[in-house]
Symmetry: C2
Amino acid sequence: MKASVNSSVKAADKSRTQADRSRAMRERLIEAALASLIDNGYARTTAVDVCKRAEVTRGALFHHFSSLSELLAITLSDTYERIFLTHRDPLDRKTLEQWIDGVWDKVRRPEFKAVLEIWLASRNDPDNTVEVSEAIQTYKAIFSPEKNENLDKLLAEDKEAYAFYRLAVEAMFGLALGRATTPGHEPLDHEVDVIKMLKKFARQMQAEK
Amino acid sequence: MKASVNSSVKAADKSRTQADRSRAMRERLIEAALASLIDNGYARTTAVDVCKRAEVTRGALFHHFSSLSELLAITLSDTYERIFLTHRDPLDRKTLEQWIDGVWDKVRRPEFKAVLEIWLASRNDPDNTVEVSEAIQTYKAIFSPEKNENLDKLLAEDKEAYAFYRLAVEAMFGLALGRATTPGHEPLDHEVDVIKMLKKFARQMQAEK
DNA sequence: CTATTTACATACATTTATGAATGTATGTAT
DNA sequence: ATACATACATTCATAAATGTATGTAAATAG
């Protein structure tokens, strides 16, 4: 029975199983990476910065991930799951209006800025893109009727509704972009009005059918 | 009468006035910076890269600009003028539909990706932001009814029309973002449909009045 | 024609990030 | 208890970017 009283780095982690330590550390790093993406952007998200946030050295990062971009790719996938799967509402709404609510509920979250950052960055940084491209495709697919059965059923054979859905998603992306470019990521003044109007159009759209 | 036959650097520029050389060089650097922003993004737009494109050394850049970020700020202002002022149509349309055409005509241009890049980057990079923030404000104002007399007149006292205009602009920003994140900046499949629908809504909006 | 300023190149010093190599403590199997 | 593996820290080598200092040719002033 070895008590291992003195933990040189942090008093926090008593004696835990290796698997536990690993999992905890990976989570810390992923969270730190996400936070850095959100308030530093992709370009300033360096291994140094992430590790400072996580309060560990880069040794930890490179032990668990082969590179910073691998961590970022995993962070993106992880964020994706957090927003779209773990979260309530797996995007199986019934009406256009409900779909708008559903998408907006995701896009408005601060984590979505991280997604935008990586989208833009990946286009510019093909080398590091390789690792994130898969996660990006998944993300984009979420908003594509073609990739989503429920949504596809709703829009099938209704060209107008399809175009409108696209319009709505683009508008919400625009709003998200606006937030991302605003100090403090504060909501824009006209956000509520725009969403309200989108939903009004949605109702009108389905009434026409 | 000194002919100055041998130009050591380029045979192109015969003996020209200093002011001419300066102006030409500044333009070359601005163009190179814009090009780099468009196909490298903000993060990878370095002084080295810009100068490689302009086929000059960094000495030239630092002679004309105090820093890379100053060049970028000036590039943004310059691009702004090129798109919004020098270009035909100073945004003085009469109907909502015409306004949509006008905005889309600007936003769809590849140069707008440079604007998006700087918008996002400036939020993340406060140090270098100082210099570009002014240009950014000008840019954003263009799309704000509050800052534009003609537009303000059109939307005044019509809350619905105001909200719709905002919606339209956000949707177009979303489309621009989509292009920016697509390899080759190719137009998205649904662009035409979205714009078409926006214009349809615009007509309907004004018919209601 | 000579002196001085301007436009630019070249060379150098500094900073910052990356990744690998190495060292050390802690958990785990026998 | 010993041997080994895993988790992480520390150190080092390298690359890339920035800014500055200095050198040189071309333009302009006297």
